[in-house]
Amino acid sequence: MKAIKQILIAIITCVGLQSFAQQMPAPAQSAAITITGATAHIGNGSVIENSIIVFENGVITAVGNSGTPTKGRIIDASGKHVYPGFIAPAKSLGLVEVNAVRASNDQDEIGDFIPNIRSLIAYNAESKVVESMRPNGILVGQVTPQGGRISGTSSIVQFDAWNWEDAAVKVDDGIHMNWPNSFSRGRWWLGEPRGWKPNKDYSKRLDEIKNYMANSRAYGMSEDQPMNEGFAAMQGLYDGSKKLYIYVQGEKEIIDAVTLCKDSGIKDPVIVGGNEAHKIIPFLKQHNIPVLVRQTHSRPSRDDDDYDLPYRLPKLLVDGGLLVGLQNANMSNFQTRNLPFYAGQLVGQGMDKETALQLITGNTAKILGIDGTHGTLETGKSATLFISEGDALDMRTNLLTNAFIDGREISLETHQTELWKRYMEKYSRE
């Protein structure tokens, strides 16, 4: 017995010593796997108790109740829960490692209108921050450039890869734009009074956007032009192959943004943020605009706001009939591992647990346009899923035992678990 313990310690120590890179990516799924007995949270609002989930070659082949035939390796998950991998939109994961260290920061290129800037090629598949997402169930993310008016083009990746090419789930899926605010803050460092005041330049900023849209559209109407990489990158917005993610908060600004998109022929705009989207639900519904709403763990924007407005906001939008996902674009990347708890917060506000789950799985996949392969536990979709000891939306019980990306069983160790084990080992020697 003592020998076994020593061997275990030796193994742990070895793992601990090689903590300089990400965990080794898992090999491709070689045999069928069946998970039995778990509560399956499908990600589309439904749930199957005592379920059977089968996947082969990275794809789910069966999801059903206990009568469903099993195949291959059986994982008994009785009393446990299975979820589709959570999806983190609008993050610069893998583009910056340590925020304060400039050399590690590749998330924000200079320039105001740079849609041709592509995040994918800078994505660090071996980021320790990305790695730390996995033990909490976040297995897929939209890697997004930051800053400027049009920040660039994002791509969607899965979180267990050797490099950016095998990480890619959807290449160049969308363009990201920061909408101007009709109010601006006093530049107190220049001696202006601190505080919000009407932004005199708002219409000018709007005009710049209109102008860029109009020009990029005109560019696409004719061939035989010298190359303009920015305008060329914009074409996907008009043919529906790319979505436009607009980071916008205010009621008036959202209306302006949606109106401009309609007028400019942009097919699929998505509101990101939408702090005041609840004030114009019928408008958004009428135009069929999905919202990636700010994480629930936020402060109310104004002193007179309800203390729980950020907790409730996604629920208000869902109750209003909008397609809603959750994002935490304005938080540090490392916070993204709390995505499930942002959804959990909604349950305390009276939202059904399965509906809350949709906001980080099925709905997000739909909004990002990857619902054909990701977001739910349904036959034909990627076996990107995990098993948790308990309710994965609650901190106490989000305890992963197994996780799979495209059927590959990935490591749940991280730089952080290694340090944990390393020092517990140190103290066990004393």
Partner: protein, 986 residues
């Protein structure tokens, strides 16, 4: 001989006013006018309370000779009959920058902040300039003087409005005719102070309000030391303070809570400050009254916001809307509470706005006699000049106003403003009032002419039937010039006439569009209606005033919450004690304490709360918070032990209420991490509605913030000149400070004279174990280092906060006896947190360290229960152990565990009732109680939301009607409150 005695006599008489008799005169012969001037039959305000009908004011040589009912008028008097008119002493403004150019901001230079003073031979801080003399910069500004006189002012007190100690001011009469020799009444009238740094120096210290306060305190300690001759160095700043000791001291505080701060310093050093307030005293009136101080109060009541854009109104907080509605009631509130104050034009865009603002205050119930006192006798008395100015008693300067009636009435015309016996005409007294309706016969047509508006600047309206002729009227020196055009402005008519001294009609020349000159007559037919437009009428009546709440912002209460006896029936009780979690248990709260825990307790009169299916816990305690403070970092020195967060607690921060909604009852507001030795903490109970002093714990344990690592090395921003720049330097800084503190204490104990040094006093407390360190820390090397330094000096570090690599030295921490207060899962934001892991709390706890989870963030603090729950996920803590990390463990670290942090009979009733398992993300705080009083309640919160909505919409409607009625508005604006974190430098 005769000639000589006459000369002496003349000299004697003249010397009262002028000093130039002995000056040679070459541009003419020397003449003297010793006549009297008498103003008779006026309603004469000798003082605000001594009013004489048909009184006479007799003046000569710029001074009052006599005033009253029966004044003998000498034969050599020029007499002005002021039948029907009023005479008032003119106003005094004790707080202006008149005639003194505001210093210009010094441009920044270099890439690093400036830490040392730029002057030699003066105080060690550039912002202390008591040696400055406004007289040396003073230049009489005729244009500004005229503006002030139009507003009724005759004497101004002025100074250099810059710096923390600003030097002496000048008292000047607004007398355009004579020169400085006459009009300067005092060239060192008072000395001035503020909390704001000088723009003329870039010296960093003080970078915060609490730093300004500490600097002012140390200045007075240093003054004592210097005045007693303990140093050989010459310090012209301190010399000046010694010289000016007997002058009135005026300090610009600028708002209600700064008033209290100023008063505290005033009391501590016996300075008898006259405090320039902010106009918001009504919000904290009991505390202001308790200061017993004298005030100078501005009337800068805010204009209404322009709320016509509904998208924009969201930026305006209820607090700011209320301020518009309530602020004009400030002077009345001060009077009602017996607080002594003078009024000032300070902070108004122009003195011309003064009367309108004052009338607003009068409409809110401010008594006009008290208003007159606040403008005359009181400022005179504050400045020690009651024998010279402020009244029209014999011997005072002849500084007075002649008006058409009550000086505070909107319709009243100010005719003349006499200063030092010199007449300044504001409106021609001889000019007739031509306002009224006339029939105008001109050019063969008959027009209706209506003249209205101000008497001195009337407006005209010309009509035939319903057809309007756009008209312009000028009226000056009794000449009327009226021009009008037809509607298309293609034809213009001009007329001019002199108004006769009797009769109401006038006639004169009329020029047709063709250029042909004819004549016209205007025959008076009646008076114009008084109402000029309906809006103005609204403006002058007292509007509905919404009530002040505690605090006076959204979510405040009309009455402060009171402790009530409560029985929580049938709860799942998380005791946090060895008794663990008790199901179906009752907890009785009596007199603010937990009185009994058990089953089926008798309510005995207490309010019963059915807690079936709910969880009752002790209130959450946040060991590391930066909410509810006006400043967090004093970054101007590498040690700032002298500053106190307790000086800058902000009881109005809505974060307090929101933290209560997350079950938080106690917090430690820590100084930031800008320097290795930070400032002293404030430990609060979040009693929303109480003032700052009542939020702070009684007998509060003493704490100070220390900090290590990248922030104190200034690694992540442009600053390269401050020691230390490495972790090696950080150690030596501590060693040096503690060695100095030891020497300081030894000297103090030896009985030798010593310079009282607040910073050293604090460090001595640390050495003696009387003050505890909570140290911001990240990597293991520095953590170990501080423990070793402490051990060397014989004390113990109390808490490492953040302590993200605590898990690497948990054994050493346990041995030292230091606690760890950490984040649940933060990392990756800077280089030193590369190895921060969420298992940190669990590992430290496993080695016997007392571990707390803190927030350092006003968002996360609202759900610290969830952060504690992460201890279960990361590292497998038991639920009870995890729960203790946000209750009893931080209580232990803060040395308040004998009072709060667990549910135990005899402890303070700081309790939270949760809808669900308190560690669950699904749980909501339903009730948060502190000392037995409910400060947050889910149901009351709903009611408050409704009330805020209703009040906002009421005030918005009032502002819309203000705008539509012609009232002034300003664009919508919103507060941008600073959300402090450790690194916030403000």
């Amino acid at each position: 001989m005769k000639k000589l005695s006459l000369l002496i006599l003349v000299f004697f008489v003249m010397s009262i006013v002028q000093g130039q008799e002995y000056f040679p005169k070459n541009d003419g012969v020397k003449e003297n006018n010793t006549n009297y001037t008498a103003f008779t039959n006026a309603t004469l305000y000798i003082t605000p309370t001594q009013v004489v009908k048909n009184g006479t004011l007799l003046i000569r040589n710029g001074k009052v000779v006599a005033s009253g009912k029966s004044v003998t008028i000498p034969k050599n008097s020029v007499i002005h009959d002021l039948e029907g008119k009023h005479i008032y002493p003119s106003f005094i403004d004790p707080y202006t920058g008149f005639g003194v150019e505001k210093p210009k901001r010094k441009p920044g230079q270099g890439r690093s902040p400036q830490y040392d003073a730029s002057r030699k031979g003066f105080y060690w801080n550039d912002h202390i300039m008591p040696e400055n003399k406004a007289i040396s910069k003073f230049k009489y500004d005729e244009k500004k003087a005229s503006e002030f006189r139009k507003a009724g002012f005759g004497v101004l007190n002025t100074h250099i409005m810059d710096g923390i100690a600003r030097g002496t001011g000048v008292l000047v009469a607004l007398n355009d005719e004579d020169d400085a020799a006459t009009r300067i009444l005092d060239n060192a009238s008072a000395q001035f102070f503020s909390f704001d740094k000088s723009v003329t120096s870039r010296q960093s210290y003080p970078s915060s309000l609490m730093g300004s306060l500490a600097l002012l305190r140390q200045l007075h300690w240093d003054l004592d030391w210097y005045a007693n001759g303990n140093t050989e160095t010459r310090d012209r700043s301190l010399d000046a303070l010694i010289t000016n000791k007997s002058l009135p001291s005026i300090i610009e505080a600028g708002d209600k809570t700064n008033n209290l701060r100023a008063d505290k310093i005033s009391d501590q050093f016996n300075l008898n400050y006259i405090i320039v307030g902010g106009g918001d005293e009504y919000e904290l009136i009991d505390e202001i009254k308790a200061t017993n101080a004298r005030y100078i109060i501005p009337v800068n009541f805010p204009d209404a916001y322009d709320v016509s854009d509904p998208y924009a109104t969201k930026y305006i907080s209820l607090e700011d809307m209320r301020n518009w509605n309530q602020a004009p009631g400030n002077p009345k509130a001060l009077i009602d509470n017996g607080i002594s104050f003078a009024l000032t034009t300070f902070d108004l865009k122009s003195p011309s706005a003064f009367k309108g603002k004052l009338i607003k205050a009068l409409n809110y119930g401010f008594d006009s006699t008290r208003a007159l006192e606040a403008l005359t006798t009181i400022p005179a008395q504050y400045l020690g000049k009651s024998n010279e100015i402020g009244s029209l008693q014999t011997g005072r300067y002849a500084n007075f106003l002649i008006t058409s009636g009550d000086v505070f009435n909107k319709e009243t015309t100010l005719y003349e403003n006499w200063v030092q016996g010199r007449k300044h005409v504001i409106n021609d007294m001889s000019q007739k009032d031509i306002r009224g309706k006339y029939t105008l016969n001109a050019g063969g047509k008959t027009y209706d002419l209506a003249i209205s508006g101000e008497m001195s600047k009337p407006k005209a309206e010309v009509k035939i039937g319903e057809t309007e002729f756009p008209a312009k009227l000028e009226y000056k020196d009794n000449w009327v010039m009226l021009s009008f055009t037809n509607k298309d402005k293609t034809e213009s008519y001009r007329s001019t006439a002199i108004v006769p001294s009797d009769g109401k009609n006038f006639s004169g020349k009329f020029v047709l569009p063709t250029g042909v000159e004819t004549s016209f007559t205007a025959v008076h037919t009646g008076d114009t209606e008084v109402s000029e437009n309906k809006g103005k009428k609204d403006k002058d009546t007292k509007p509905e005033v919404v009530p002040v709440t505690f605090p006076n912002v959204g979510y405040g209460s009309l009455n402060k919450p009171q402790s009530q006896n409560t029985l929580f029936r049938n709860a799942t009780v998380w005791t946090g004690e060895s008794t663990g979690v008790l199901s179906n248990t009752d907890v009785l709260v009596r007199n603010g304490k937990i009185s009994k825990i058990g089953k089926n307790l008798s309510a005995s009169g207490a309010t019963v709360v059915d807690a079936t299916g709910k969880h009752l816990t002790a209130g959450v305690i946040d060991e590391h918070s930066h909410i509810a403070a006006l400043s967090i970092n004093e970054s101007g020195h590498n040690s700032s032990a002298e500053v106190k967060i307790e000086d800058v607690v902000d009881p109005e921060d809505v974060s307090i209420y929101r933290n209560l909604a997350g079950g938080v009852t106690s917090i430690q507001i820590l100084h930031g991490s800008a320097n290795p030795i930070g400032g002293r903490s404030a430990i609060l109970k979040l009693k929303w509605g109480e003032n700052a002093e009542n939020l702070i714990y009684d007998n509060s344990p003493k704490f100070i913030k220390f900090a290590l690592g990248e922030n104190v090395k200034q690694s992540n921003w442009q600053s390269f000149s401050r020691f230390p720049q490495t972790r090696m330097g950080v150690e030596q800084l501590y060693v040096n400070y503690f060695n100095r503190a030891k020497e300081y204490e030894a000297k103090k104990k030896s009985g030798q004279p010593y310079r009282y040094d607040e910073e050293m006093e604090v460090l001595v407390e640390i050495l003696n174990g009387e003050r505890f360190i909570s140290c911001h820390s990240y990597v293991q090397s520095e953590i170990n280092m501080l423990m070793k330094v402490a051990e060397k000096f014989g004390f113990r570090v109390n808490t490492f906060t953040h302590i993200l690599e605590g898990y690497k030295v948990a054994d050493k921490m346990a041995a030292h006896g230091v606690g760890g207060s950490t984040f649940s899962d933060w990392w990756a934001y800077k280089f030193e947190v590369n190895d921060a892991i969420p298992y940190n709390a669990a590992i430290m706890a496993s080695q016997g360290v007392t571990v707390a989870i803190n927030s350092d963030d006003s968002e996360m603090s609202r759900r610290l229960n969830q952060e504690a729950a992460k201890g279960v996920k990361y590292g497998g803590m038991t639920e009870e152990e995890a729960w203790k990390m946000v209750t009893i463990n931080p209580a232990k670290l803060l040395h308040i565990d004998d009072r709060t942090g667990s549910i135990k009979e005899g402890k303070d009733a700081d309790l939270v009732l949760w809808s669900d398992h308190p560690l669950s993300v699904y749980a909501k705080a339903e009730k948060t109680m502190i000392d037995g009083a409910v400060y947050f309640d889910l149901e009351q919160d709903k009611a408050k939301r409704q009330a805020i909505k209703a009040e906002r919409s009421k005030l918005i409607n009032m502002m819309i009607s203000e705008k539509n009625g012609g009232g002034k508005t300003r664009p919508p604006a919103g507060k941008d409150k600073i959300r402090f974190e450790c690194e916030t430098i403000n």
